[in-house]
């Protein structure tokens, strides 16, 4: 179960916003895509999912288990989304349907990919809610997103993304919109689920300090290009690109500030 992205190019109105990005996610690897906003990391993720917004076109190659999924018919791709590749978004406030209960949204992912009746799907949804450590799962599945806290919403979003047990999880800045106090809990949860399911992970962030807790490999992006990539330790100890050095400076600065505040 591996993902190989080769020479990915995403163009919007003739502008190359992702320009020849290549990286690989071997089975069980945890790869971080890191870069400042506008570096093309989110678009890379959406291109992998085949969910680019209108007007954006992708070329190059995205291979999942050796199959080319870039340009695959949408119907076929829909069978892979959620079932084999799951995705968690940055903003939990908007990533959940405001007029559907949490349980129904978790059950939806299950019912897309498996033939289960409504009641069985609900039972499964409760189990999934418990797995992401939502409090009182029996009752929280009947709640609406606006009745949950930010951290709970992101846990629910994770439950939705993982309900069909994908082999690869793409997490697009999953902790950025959360309070600092809650970030650590959600990160720990994400890591423990990735490990227990033996999933691969693509983790997108702009914060090297967060990435250091999660990833084994990192790909540094700037202006749609890969500027540096390799094992995380190498990047942290001997960054060659000035952009990585800048990210490292930012990260240590936040760490220092964090210690001062504490």
């Amino acid at each position: 179960m591996s993902l190989e992205v080769t020479d990915l190019v995403v163009e919007i109105d003739g502008r190359r916003v992702v320009d020849g990005v290549s990286f690989a996610v071997p089975d069980g690897a945890r790869v971080g895509l890191i870069g400042e906003s506008g570096s093309g990391k989110s678009l890379t993720a959406l291109a992998v999912m085949g969910l680019l917004p209108d007007g954006a076109t992708a070329s190059g190659s995205v291979r999942w288990n050796g199959r080319e999924i870039l340009g695959m018919p949408d119907r076929e791709l829909a069978g892979i989304r959620g079932d084999e590749i799951g995705m968690v978004f940055q903003e939990p406030r908007t990533a959940l349907n405001p007029i559907r209960t949490i349980g129904r949204q978790i059950a939806e992912t299950i019912r897309i990919h498996e033939r289960v009746d409504r009641r069985a799907a609900r039972t499964r949804a409760v189990a999934e809610a418990a797995r992401v450590a939502l409090p009182d799962p029996e009752r929280i599945v009947d709640r609406y997103p606006h009745q949950l806290s930010g951290g709970q919403r992101q846990r629910a979003a994770i439950a939705i993304a993982l309900a069909a047990r994908p082999r690869l999880l793409i997490a697009d800045e999953p902790t950025t919109a959360l309070d600092v106090t809650i970030q650590a809990g959600v990160l720990r949860l994400l890591l423990s689920l990735v490990e227990s399911d033996g999933m691969s992970l693509v983790f997108i962030t702009h914060d090297l300090a967060v990435l250091a807790q999660v990833a084994t490999h990192a790909v540094v992006l700037a202006h749609g290009r890969v500027v540096e990539s390799g094992p995380l330790e190498a990047l942290l100890t001997a960054p060659t690109s000035p952009i990585t050095q800048g990210l490292l400076r930012d990260a240590t600065a936040t760490l220092w500030r964090g210690e001062e505040e504490a």
């Binding site: 995705m87 349907n97 993304a161 069909a164």
Partner: protein, 295 residues
């Protein structure tokens, strides 16, 4: 189930629901039974005041006004349900085509909708009736098309707004096909706006039927219709003012009930409004959004 309970918990919603159900029941009952035959004339009992056995009195030809109103409910139900259905189909189809397709298609649809909106329902009714002749179906189609494009114009920008929400992309990321996504995530989220428009269209259908029948494009003189009855009685308003009150009141209450029911339904289907906490979706309660200028 809970939505129904929420609907009944508001006085306006309960009133709307009761009136609409009452009209439905009356229309059904009138198929089998009315106090008098609504077409039977009786010269000896013309212009009777309300009393027994003619509870609401009689008209110029001695027909029982209550029986005429009951029989007219059939026409009203037929027209408002038919027009509502046509408006729903046209509204969703044009709204979805205008919001979710390739750019040149949606721009074309938007222009098409704007052109159609310029046509008053009356003109559409006249166009159809030249082909088909006057009948209730003319009213159904004319009001359905006329309000369908209105529904489409309000639904389209709402769909465009919701379409770019993260949860719609998230739904696709969970493996929903575009069609499933439309049914699961997009349409339910535009429902509040849609319901209000639709209830308004159905209420207007009641008025339009009265108006178009009055002008001769709708129900024929022998069909029972509130509009025709009102037109008939209104000519004698200075002599027998009370008799005009009944069809007038019936039409007013029906239109009011449709509107109240629509508003209450909108509130009942929107979970964020239930707890009184509506910061996240406050825009929903505002006036209908203006059509977008750019795609």
């Amino acid at each position: 189930m809970t939505a129904l309970r929420r609907l009944c918990s508001s006085a306006a919603g309960l009133f709307g629901l009761i009136v609409v159900v009452l009209i439905l029941v009356t229309a059904l009952v009138s198929l089998f039974w009315t106090p008098f035959d609504p077409r039977a004339t009786d010269v000896t009992s013309r212009w009777l005041p309300p009393g027994w056995p003619h509870l609401l009195g009689t008209d110029l030809t001695g027909r029982d006004i209550l029986s005429l109103l009951m029989a007219g409910a059939r026409t009203t139900v037929l027209v408002s349900a038919g027009a509502g259905l046509v408006a729903t189909l046209i509204g969703i189809a044009l709204g979805a085509l205008g919001a979710l397709t390739a750019r040149w298609v949606r721009e074309t649809i938007a222009v098409f909708v704007d052109i159609l909106i310029a046509f008053p329902v009356l003109i559409i009714a006249m166009l159809i009736s030249t082909v088909q002749g006057g009948s209730l179906w003319v009213v159904v189609w004319a009001v359905g098309i006329g309000f369908g494009v209105n529904v489409a114009r309000v639904t389209r920008p709402e769909l465009r707004r919701v379409q770019h929400s993260d949860f719609v992309v998230a739904g696709r990321a969970s493996g929903l096909t575009p069609a499933q996504n439309l049914v699961q995530h997009l349409l339910p989220n535009v429902a509040p706006v849609f319901i209000v428009q639709l209830s308004w269209a159905m209420a207007t259908a009641v008025l339009a039927e009265a108006g178009l029948s009055y002008l001769g494009f709708g129900a024929s003189v022998v069909d029972p219709s509130w509009g025709i009855l009102l037109a008939d009685l209104q000519r004698y308003i200075q002599v027998h003012p009370l008799s005009v009150v009944w069809p007038g009141l019936t039409i007013t209450v029906t239109v009011l009930a449709f509107n109240l029911l629509g508003d209450a339904l909108r509130d009942a289907t929107d979970p964020t409004l239930r707890t009184g906490k509506r910061s996240a979706r406050q825009g929903r309660r505002g006036p209908a959004p203006l059509p977008e200028v750019t795609a």
